[in-house]
């Protein structure tokens, strides 16, 4: 057993920890349309909580309720144990970075950042040094005097971030903050955000529909669909132990295999069609014989070989349909005798290796008993 050098940050597992935000059976309806459906969730101090889900699933609505621009139709939201319903947006220790940035066009970058501080009554040297600190943090010193329309999209995004950070809010809401940036700038900014969070200790709730972004920055991810949170967990657990086919399919690439379960000891046998032997899997949930199940397995957990490997219960013969070369990786699409296509991924560790496997070859795919996840339904 190795001991972690740093204490693991997992306040959600600690029953003594008090949540910063609590949603208690919150429902939000617009007319007869339900945007948020009976939501209960705790978010803890210093978390980087990512909301992930398709467009229209209620992410922005959730944020706007925290910021105070929408009121829940039912249920309560607590901030540090206090019901925030009667508190006006301008009295909440919450700042929001808008999806559109919402920079004030008539004010300079400097004035934009100073806006919230001035409302607190800060002035003189204190104001100057705080704004300068924010400018330095977001590397905007050279643009302080410009108006928002005189800087680039990436710089504007930094202004919006600096402006919402300036008041050092307890809670910062970021609504798709990096959506407009190109990949390189986006990654830089993601690390910058994490850095800022380390330094300031602010709690972040971030909306994104970029799953890679959520995986990179989040302490926990909530995968949402139609106003509900389907799974709330650490990025690793969301990826490795999705609780539904929806979550498994939403994050990353995955093979979903439909079949019937037969429990046998600590294993479960899955029959998945004519001409293929059963898959052997493991699970924490119990299945009845004949239950319909989905077996989800990531392509990188499936290996491809010319020879049959003999150290695994799961080895199946198939034919290579397609090979996608991605530089660092290759993905093989292998057709099984039952017609199912399984994706298998392998790292290209050698440069331009003489490829042993090519189109239409007969190959063996294999994986361990614990490599996949068994999902009900």
């Amino acid at each position: 057993m190795t001991e972690a050098l740093r204490p693991v940050f997992a306040p959600w597992n600690d029953p003594d920890e008090k949540p910063l935000i609590q949603f208690k059976n919150v429902t939000k309806r617009f007319g007869d349309f339900t945007a948020i459906d009976d939501l209960t969730i705790d978010i803890f101090e210093r978390e980087f909580f990512a909301l992930l889900g398709p467009s229209g699933c209620g992410k922005t609505t959730l944020m706007r309720m925290l910021a105070g621009f929408e009121t829940p139709t039912e249920g309560t939201i607590l901030l540090s144990g206090q019901d925030i319903a009667p508190i006006q947006p301008n009295k909440r220790a919450v700042n929001m970075m808008f999806q559109s940035y919402a920079l004030f066009p008539h004010l300079s970058v400097w004035e934009n950042i100073a806006f919230g501080l001035k409302r607190e009554g800060m002035k003189g040297d204190a104001l100057n040094s705080r704004v300068d600190e924010m400018l330095r943090l977001t590397r905007l010193e050279r643009f302080a005097k410009r108006k928002p329309h005189q800087i680039s999209g990436g710089q504007r995004q930094r202004v919006a971030l600096a402006r919402s950070l300036a008041k050092a809010p307890k809670l910062l809401l970021l609504d798709e903050p990096l959506g407009a940036l190109d990949k390189k700038l986006r990654q830089d900014t993601q690390f910058e955000l994490m850095d800022i969070q380390e330094k300031t200790g602010t709690t972040f709730v971030i909306v994104t529909h970029d799953q890679e972004e959520a995986m990179t920055v989040a302490s926990r991810i909530a995968v949402m669909d139609e106003g509900r949170m389907i799974q709330v967990d650490t990025p690793a657990r969301i990826y490795e132990a999705p609780n539904t086919v929806y979550v498994a399919d939403f994050i990353g690439d995955v093979n979903i295999i439909e079949g019937r379960a037969t429990p046998s000891g600590e294993h479960v046998q899955i029959a998945w069609g004519e001409g293929v032997s059963d898959i052997t899997g493991t699970t924490d949930t119990s299945f009845e014989k004949g239950d319909k199940v989905h077996f989800a397995i990531r392509p990188e957990k499936v290996s491809v070989n010319v020879e049959k490997p003999d150290d695994t219960p799961n080895a199946f013969q198939g034919k290579v349909l397609d090979i996608a070369y991605l530089g660092n990786l290759s993905t093989y699409h292998v057709e099984m005798p039952n017609g199912q296509i399984i994706k298998a991924q392998s790292a290209n560790t050698r440069r331009l290796s003489r490829r042993a496997i090519t189109w239409d070859d007969t190959v063996w795919i294999s994986f361990t008993a614990t490599a996949g996840v068994l999902l009900k339904g």
């Binding site: 301008n90 700042n95 919402a102 008539h106 919230g116 409302r119």
Partner: protein, 271 residues
Amino acid sequence: MRRLTWFNTTSLTLGFAFLYLPMVILVIYSFNSSKLVTVWAGFSTKWYGELMRNEAFLDAAWVTIKVAVLSSTFATVLGTLAAYVLVRAGRFWGRTLFSGMIYAPLVMPEVITGLSLLLLFIGIGLDRGVMTIVLAHTTFSMCYVSVVVSSRLATFDMSLEEAALDLGSTPFEAFRLVTLPIIAPAVISGWLLAFTLSLDDLVIASFTSGPSATTLPIKIFSAVRLGVSPEINALSTIMIAIVTIGVISASLISKRAAVRQRLEEQQAVRS
């Protein structure tokens, strides 16, 4: 490229002549040295001098300016607030009725507006004078302001106000520090529009003015009934100049905002 054919040129000339010939004649004759309005006797500015010595006209001019400044200021405040409520408040009970009623005075015959105001002032026992004309002009010009301002507010990004609230401003501060500066060109245009409307108005002013206060249009109208004098031509020329300046600055103010923005952008690129 389209060329100016003789047909185009003629239409253009005729159109503009139709619009401006009467005014051009008036301006020219205001510089006539003869007392007879229709006989040209050489250039002179003496009627402008005469005008400056005419107490009655000067009084009326002073009343007119006072009324125009006060009523356009009131109309701008009220019209801007009405526009703000109509565009911002979303749906509330009676919204359609309210917005319809704000714009109704735009199409209401002035005679009716004037008459109803007169009846109101008599009903509540208000002595007719500067105050009543100001009230009347505020009433009919605030809907023009409200039209101008609400068309600007319709394209105003609501999230800017939310951002201001989010950063700790009160709703009033959000309006004063964010919304108002951004829509200022429209508000100023509205003020200038209301100002020129008030300056021009004859019908409503005749209903609501009293013996203690007469505006220039009324003065001119009653003077002309006794015969046109070159002095009136001079006075009208001055009014044409003021109105023209008002209308041109109203449109320039909105254009200049766009030009300044472009200049700033160019400077930013160069630095």
